[in-house]
Symmetry: C2
Amino acid sequence: MGVEERRQQLIGVALDLFSRRSPDEVSIDEIASAAGISRPLVYHYFPGKLSLYEAALKRASEDLASRFAEPREGPLGARLHRVMGRFFDFVDEHGPGFSALMRGGPAVGSTTTNALVDSVRQAAFDQILSHLGVSEASPRLELVVRSWISLAESTALIWLDGRRIPRAELEKQLVQDFAALAAVSAAYDEGMAAVLRGALREEPAESPFGELVGRLIALAS
Amino acid sequence: MGVEERRQQLIGVALDLFSRRSPDEVSIDEIASAAGISRPLVYHYFPGKLSLYEAALKRASEDLASRFAEPREGPLGARLHRVMGRFFDFVDEHGPGFSALMRGGPAVGSTTTNALVDSVRQAAFDQILSHLGVSEASPRLELVVRSWISLAESTALIWLDGRRIPRAELEKQLVQDFAALAAVSAAYDEGMAAVLRGALREEPAESPFGELVGRLIALAS
């Protein structure tokens, strides 16, 4: 194998191990053994476990960000719903590693890992604005989108802790949470209200957004 | 000064510095100078910066958790609204330190600091359940409460980054966010719906919850 090919193989092996257990439980010896090479050879490609972890996280980050891409066609609720499905696929595939990373701590909290997590959040933010047809977000719209992204993260973390709620329900609920948070914020911001009205206008009644509105009315009356 | 008195004074000085700047920018020299003692004397009381940081964070955590306490009287929305005011007071007083801690990273991500942050989240969770009159949360109620707590954290972090939205608006919005997330979840869980109906029944029309319902109806129609 060439140098780059070997590096890529090692990253793949490491990502698999770092996904299945908390990174501080995975040793270089284990990675070497899973890759079928010697421990010194691992160190030939990566100076230490942290640099290998960061390389694996970079691959995972690019993978996750690529799953946010969604054609700009059809109702917004259905688009977001499809993205949520792919997000939970990712969370499911990388469960223990995702939990360890997002809960922070010395094993995973380097400046590089934080920057990678932030880059994925930024990719999600950019995608959502683009689907909303907004090029520059007002402070209130930015707050809704960024705080909803953190809500999606914490919902996924809570799901991983015992999986006591079916993920399909959470995927739909997060779409409805987005509409609900936007609706709360719309009271304070006419631009936000316009974005929301535009989005709701194109929603079929049987979509996640449409369903939510019906339910809220029933609850309120 | 006695040993314990000196320790407590040092913790207070350190907390003040760690609150006003990111902890990794604060040196032991600076803490010694602010406390009016020598650097070696600081090390006599605390083996290193991390242990002093952890002691300061412990004091801040207990302070924040104590602000969640609220008499069990009157409408729930107003109670949560008062707690949100005290939460933003705390965030305001400890801004840079709060941001650095919640954004994670090597300077602040020890096992002890993570446990302290989790203890504050747990105190918030316990308070909310107690005000809802629920002794054991269903998985869906637990999800709503815990994910709303993370929403409050991220809202505060986004507020600190430029303070572009008045905090009074965010304090009220978070109360409404709680009701909105509960309303979304109520569709999936009869117990959750019962909790929400009970809470809304006692809300005056001019409360944050009452206002929200009126706005949602207006938006939906």
